[in-house]
């Protein structure tokens, strides 16, 4: 049986990076009410908090047409780099290549899992789908999350905890909000920006929407995944640098928005990135969740 070597690597990375379990839920409701008294003393010490600035992480969202190849490669890479990440597709249906170009395998978003797709295609024609990489891809995806999600159906800000807790990259993305959306195709970028305009920004939260134009093939997705992580690293470093520059340290929690001038540095970062990755034409806008 052949397995995706990247999958193993990712699992390893994920396993090694698995954070210690969150504090036990013993701090229930009664605890929170008693907390103020217990914590009052802590307020005396306001400074000298030193913790690695890397602990601050931007939250990412990768988007492609079917939430299978490019966005999932990005999802895997970003989660392997310990970023909070979720992923979506913008198509009307999940379309996977079939025996011919006019016979794609079609699935519904949100209701079909990678597991069922894998099993179905494996029973249909294992040789074909092994040869064109579809089964390997689905096998990888199975290890990342349950199934493809549609961007247009994403309820922004709705907590993702109970349902998506086991997804890779779920740590930090529990609140269902993101700071950066990275699409993999101009069509998807258009769809995302259009959809955000339609939503009318109920959350009043700024979000940077990037497009990194990646061809829909396994090879390009691999390279594109690297490019996405590179972009994410640069963005995150900038955000961290701002936090440190503004005198704040000690922040090992997952959320936070303290990256004031970070926003204005985004065009610089993207410009530099584009010079490093000229094969992926990039696009950017600041939209609202």
């Amino acid at each position: 049986m052949s397995t995706d070597p990247r999958l193993a690597r990712a699992r390893q990375a994920a396993a090694s990076a698995t954070p210690p379990p969150p504090p036990p839920p013993a701090t229930g409701v009664p605890d929170t009410t008693t907390q103020p008294i217990a914590l009052d003393g802590a307020n005396d010490a306001k400074d000298a908090d030193v913790s690695p600035p890397e602990s601050f992480k931007l939250r990412f969202c990768t988007v492609c047409a079917s939430n299978n190849n490019r966005s999932m490669e990005g999802h895997l890479r970003l989660s392997a780099a310990n970023y909070p990440v979720i992923s979506f597709g913008t198509g009307s249906l999940v379309r996977l290549p079939g025996p011919s170009i006019s016979q794609p395998n079609v699935y519904n978003f949100n209701t079909s899992s990678y597991e069922t797709m894998y099993n179905e295609l494996d029973s249909k024609d294992p040789r074909l789908y092994r040869a064109n990489g579809i089964l390997n891809m689905l096998e990888r995806n199975k290890g990342i999350k349950w199934g493809p999600e549609r961007f247009q159906d994403w309820k922004v800000g709705a907590p993702r905890i109970p349902k998506h807790e086991s997804d890779q990259g779920s740590r930090g993305s529990e609140a269902g909000t993101v700071d950066v959306i990275i699409t993999c195709e101009e069509r998807c970028w258009d769809a995302v920006v259009d959809d955000l305009l339609n939503r009318g920004s109920p959350l009043n939260r700024p979000v940077h929407v990037f497009n990194v134009d990646i061809k829909d093939s396994h090879e390009e997705a691999l390279v594109g995944g690297k490019a996405i992580v590179d972009l994410a690293d640069n963005l995150n470093n900038a955000a961290n640098a701002e936090r440190v520059a503004h005198g704040s340290e000690g922040w090992n929690a997952t959320s936070g928005l303290g990256r004031q001038s970070f926003d204005s540095r985004v065009p610089d970062i993207l410009g530099e990135w584009q010079e490093r990755w000229p094969q992926f034409p990039a696009l950017w806008t600041l939209a609202w969740l």
Binding site: P25, D47, N198, R205, G271
Partner: protein, 719 residues
């Protein structure tokens, strides 16, 4: 370190509480109330950041009920106010606070509308609002961003919207329309004036020549909802946006990567914004203008980005003006042919037209022959005619000069003493190469090394008669091969095209049949000796006739499946008949081929007809002409007692529907009645109507007589 630990543990405990709230929004009120003292302005920076962020998240959460949010704002507003009015402000805290305030403003606004007595809450909100507006111009970009969003929300609240259902105020969109005119805290007119002022500030970003992509895209992405839902200000916003030029930055010459990103970003966001407007409401009054602007944007995109894609122009002065090899070659040097040295000249000198020593020194023989072969033809094609004439005239001039001068011997030697001359003559450039080739035969009797002159393929040997016949037959078979392989059904679909059809215009089966038939009937008409009777085709004369061959094949083609190919037969025979007509017009005694062919075809079919075959009737009724000979063949069918009815019916049909041949058909019937015992009964029925006197003169049988009246009546009904 203790402080550090406690701060970290506090935050991890706060995170636990946050997770609890996320998993069930019921816990939000308790948690917010609980953490309020911890995260207040006096707390450590990271606690304040966490608190501000948590508040923003809480108020953004769609899971948390609106009513609860409103109740919670009594506790949250003072915290936000403290954050925003503090002396030591952290941008992260401020940013999150502004976000929280943005989400909170509509809730507090509605609360104030319905409870005008709650002055404190509104005052807190108003203080926050003015604090945010104050910092709008001086804040860091990230904070400014969120201030933009806050302003957009304030404008949305403080301009009149549409009240969709006055009976259910909680379902309505929160807007100025809900505010009563005499509201003590928030007088609508003041609020609206403030909103219009804020709108100007919001739209200022489009007039800013610096073109800050961050603010521009953020504003574009936030005002969409205003354009959609606030008719009173939609036009103003749209006009400003339509006059905004996203390529402003691109005009200032070269673009670095950042500028490119910003220009592209603004352009695409503007496009997305406009497309979204038109898509949501295609019938809006501005749709036309928006579409026009989109087209213009595409044009501007080309203008802005094309210049950067072009190569830079060639410099006016060459970089090294002194080096001739670096000079631009604007034209081939004019023929400044060097004068011949006095005294005897070699052949090489005679034909040397260049002063360039390197060219003169080039040995053409180093080029392999196959290369020369390849070069020469394109070279000859590209020779400039003027240059060639010029070169020839110079050489002519030289020859004349030489022969005119006393050194005539020298030229004679040069021309006859080929050995030396030729060796030197090879030192010439490509121009000279051609000259040499022209001069070659003159100068030497060696065969030219490079074959010149046109190459003529030898005539093929004349074909034998049998070859002609074979190839001709093969050709005909190939035409029918096309007939076989082209579409099966096309033939029967033709009627749909009506009169507009041109025969053989489409390459279906019918088209190929038409081509074959016309090849047979028309092409060789008048070319072949008119005396040759090839129409029966059986003679197999020595000379091959295309027409005969095609007719033979057509004949076989039809007969091999005549029930289905009757249509082909009919159209073929029609062509034949027409062709005969045309020929007889020019040549009265020209022999027609139609009569023979139709008989031959019918003879081929007759043995296979069964008693109820409709093919015969169709054939007889559709062929262009029916003659006595044809009827004779039909009559002979009546010999077979099984097919008597077939013969009589066929003739009867002709009697009924083919008046020109009615007479001869009735004659035929009469003949049947007289001479064919079996046909008597059937033909009598028909004759009873058309020629009853015949029945009378012969000895009628009683049975026939009895049948006559009713048959006649039937016939009349049928007619």
């Amino acid at each position: 370190m203790a402080a550090n630990d406690s701060s970290e543990s506090t935050i991890s405990r706060l995170e636990g509480a946050r997770k609890l709230a996320l998993s069930d929004s019921v816990h939000y009120p308790a948690i917010v109330q609980g953490v309020a003292p911890i995260i207040g302005q006096g707390a450590a920076l990271d606690l304040r950041r966490w608190g501000a962020d948590f508040l923003a998240e809480t108020y953004a959460s769609p899971a948390f009920a609106v009513e609860e949010k409103v109740k919670l704002s009594f506790a949250a507003l003072p915290i936000l106010k403290a954050y925003l009015e503090a002396d030591d402000q952290d941008d992260a805290v401020v940013k999150s606070s502004v976000q929280a305030a943005t989400s909170m403003y509509p809730l507090v606004f509605r609360h104030t509308i319905y409870t005008p007595t709650d002055i404190t809450t509104w005052q807190n909100m108003a203080a926050i609002k003015s604090s945010i507006l104050r910092r709008m111009d001086s804040a860091a970009p990230g904070v400014k961003l969120c201030c933009t969003k806050f302003i957009q929300r304030v404008i949305q609240m403080q301009t009149p919207g549409v009240i969709s259902d006055p009976r259910r105020p909680d379902q309505n969109e929160i807007s100025l329309s809900l505010v009563p005119r005499d509201h003590p805290l928030i007088p609508p007119s003041t609020l609206e004036a403030e909103a219009l002022g804020l709108l100007d500030r919001l739209l200022d970003v489009f007039q800013n020549p610096a073109g800050d992509a961050l603010q521009v895209t953020a504003t574009l992405n936030s005002v969409g909802v205003l354009v959609r839902t606030r008719a009173s200000i939609a036009n103003r916003i749209l006009n400003t946006i339509l006059s905004f030029d996203p390529f402003r930055l691109a005009y200032s010459g070269t673009m670095d990567a950042k500028t490119k990103v910003m220009v592209k970003s603004m352009e695409r966001t503007l496009k997305a914004f406009l497309i979204n407007l038109n898509k949501r409401n295609p019938t809006n009054p501005m749709a036309g203008r928006i579409q026009g602007h989109l087209d213009r944007l595409a044009q501007m995109h080309n203008d802005a980005f094309d210049t950067t894609g072009r190569k830079r122009a060639a410099p006016l002065e060459p970089p090294d003006g002194l080096d001739p090899s670096k000079r631009q070659r604007l034209a081939i040097d004019a023929f400044g042919a060097p004068a011949l040295p006095p005294g005897p000249v070699s052949m090489a000198q005679l034909f040397t037209l260049t002063a360039d020593d390197t060219t003169k020194g080039f040995n053409v023989q180093t080029i392999p022959f196959n290369m020369v072969n390849r070069i020469v033809v394109p070279l000859l094609v590209s020779v400039n005619q003027d240059q060639l004439t010029n070169a020839v005239s110079i050489v002519k001039q030289r020859l004349q000069d030489l022969s005119g001068s006393s050194s005539a011997t020298a030229i004679a030697q040069a021309l006859t003493g080929a050995g030396q001359g030729l060796d030197n003559g090879t030192n010439a450039a490509s121009d000279q190469l051609m000259n040499r080739m022209e001069a070659g035969p003159v100068a030497t009797d060696r065969p030219p090394e490079v074959p010149t002159g046109p190459f003529i393929i030898p005539q093929p040997p004349p074909m034998e008669d049998y070859e002609v016949t074979d190839f001709g037959k093969e050709m005909v078979l190939r035409i029918f091969g096309m007939v076989e392989t082209s579409g099966e059904t096309a033939l029967f679909k033709m009627p749909t095209k009506g009169f507009n059809r041109v025969a053989g215009s489409n390459y279906d089966r019918d088209g190929w049949v038409t081509i074959a038939v016309r090849l047979a009937t028309r092409t060789t008409t008048g070319l072949e000796a008119s005396g040759v009777k090839e129409e029966d085709g059986s003679s197999g004369g020595p000379a091959f006739s295309l027409a005969t061959e095609i007719r033979n094949v057509l004949h076989q083609y039809v007969l091999s499946d005549f029930r289905r190919r009757i249509g082909v037969a009919i159209s073929w025979l029609n062509e034949e008949w027409y062709n005969d007509r045309m020929r007889s017009r020019s040549d009265a005694d020209a022999a027609g081929s139609y009569d023979g062919l139709v008989l031959r075809l019918l003879d081929g079919m007759l043995p296979y007809l069964d008693a109820k075959d409709k093919v015969l009737i169709r054939f007889l009724s559709e062929v262009p002409a029916v003659g006595p000979a044809l009827l004779e063949r039909v009559k002979r069918l009546a010999v077979d007692p099984e097919r008597v009815a077939l013969a009589v019916n066929a003739i009867h049909y002709l009697v009924l529907f083919r008046p020109p041949v009615r007479e001869i058909c009735i004659d035929a019937l009469e003949d049947l009645w007289h001479n064919y015992e079996d046909a008597r009964g059937a033909s009598a029925k028909v004759l009873a109507k058309w020629r009853p006197e015949v029945l009378g003169e012969a000895a009628p049988q009683a049975k026939v007589e009895e049948a006559k009246p009713e048959v006649a009546a039937k016939m009349e009904v049928a007619a």
